[in-house]
Symmetry: C2
Subunit: 294 residues, 2 copies
Amino acid sequence: MSGKLFNKVALIGIGLIGSSLARAFRRESPETEIIACARRAETLAAVRRLAIADATTRDPAQAAADADLVVIATPLSAYAELGERIAPVLKNHAILTDVGSVKQAVIRDLQPHVPSGVHFVPGHPVAGTEHSGPESGFAELFRDRWCILTPPPETAPEPVAAVGRMWESFGMHVVTMSADHHDKVLAMTSHLPHLIAYTIVGTATNLEESLKSEVIEFSASGFRDFTRIAASDPVMWRDIFLNNREAVLEIVQRFTEDLTALQRAIRWGEGDKLQELFTRTREIRRSIIEAKQA
Amino acid sequence: MSGKLFNKVALIGIGLIGSSLARAFRRESPETEIIACARRAETLAAVRRLAIADATTRDPAQAAADADLVVIATPLSAYAELGERIAPVLKNHAILTDVGSVKQAVIRDLQPHVPSGVHFVPGHPVAGTEHSGPESGFAELFRDRWCILTPPPETAPEPVAAVGRMWESFGMHVVTMSADHHDKVLAMTSHLPHLIAYTIVGTATNLEESLKSEVIEFSASGFRDFTRIAASDPVMWRDIFLNNREAVLEIVQRFTEDLTALQRAIRWGEGDKLQELFTRTREIRRSIIEAKQA
């Protein structure tokens, strides 16, 4: 990598993604000055202990003032208020970006506050683990994963490219699409799988006690994979479902219809229908392996 | 490990599990004579190429004649006919076992054929991968996984112990329970997760083409984990669902109710309900990690 990415970066929200970003800056652009902002004092104490920022503050306006790049990395429910608080201090030509998993809602909540002269580049690094908090971050989190940018039509191309170069320098493959399309794709690839995983683990927690302990013992037979996903951050995921409601409900509806059809095939012993579907789903796995996403 | 486990073992069905078993015998009990039986000539050709059996045959009766231990490792739909074909040749004091993922149906299909003097020990090594066929087997498949034995009350204790010792020598932890209880536990830990994974991947295959290719590109955000499970053997899984119908339908019903409740919470913006569940499911993950099943 080459040179300094930005002079001064404000990271507002410093959990898994924010702290991974801080670490990636430290490694790829050590001269960049990093200010970390979090609501909780313990979080900032952890950031100082980890030495991944040059300064810490609980005041988002203080963090954003004078920053060339402001990255919002909090749960989605904090965006609107944050937008309001930082808008007055954003400097001319600053770039405002974020890492949220839903993009139409981010534009809805932030864009009204963005002053003219500030470049707004909503983004979504599609990377994560089931762990949360600043201790769980690592610079390699972004390596070989996708980053989706969804700039509104008004945003100039150069700041979009600058944010893209930043993510590329952290190892990501960057792609641009509309916020609406992003939300549909992610509803299928990420939000529905998480909802299903939360549901199935919830179903297991409601079992009679005699069964429940054995479900844990024998979880390696399939259930376990779901529990990993269902251990993801509760507040972050609450906000994702509430903020991508239309796309999620649409895809849940399709899923439910498909499940009902399978349920019916099992009830009536229609083995051919089951086998046909199970053969078709195997192909998808092959496509994913070919696309090197496995 | 110590000594020879059995003199002569017939492996009827030599896919992922059967061929892993052959390899485990080769390593832990090299003097045991292994006869592999499969319906398809190509499968047996692969077995000979892999040199994991002493003899191969397409005739299950020929394989079972004179064997001390007969292991059925075919899809469940083949059991009843196999039972009928091998029953006349089973030698006195032979042990008949299997590796099927549903146990009440196995007892229903095999027990009527078991001659007196033959010991019937239904078993389920809870191990597997999404790959199938004799090439995909490996002796370590069983290491540190559970094997559940579900002997009917009539089966004498010694043959149950002998089958248990065999699995233990291959690295498994052996536990005994009723077939009915097994089928309920596995419906939750294995059959429902597979059904859900097949469904969700099926839902994705039905998307408009424009979305479908992106679902594959961005699959790493959750969806990918489901595609691995949904790549499991189609015939084996068709048979599991058809043969554990009652327990699967009962648990699917519970799951659907839970999903509907979440769907409703998303529609009405009930964030508290979502967050409460997502916090609870995180605990289950912790239990699994504590139970060393992660």
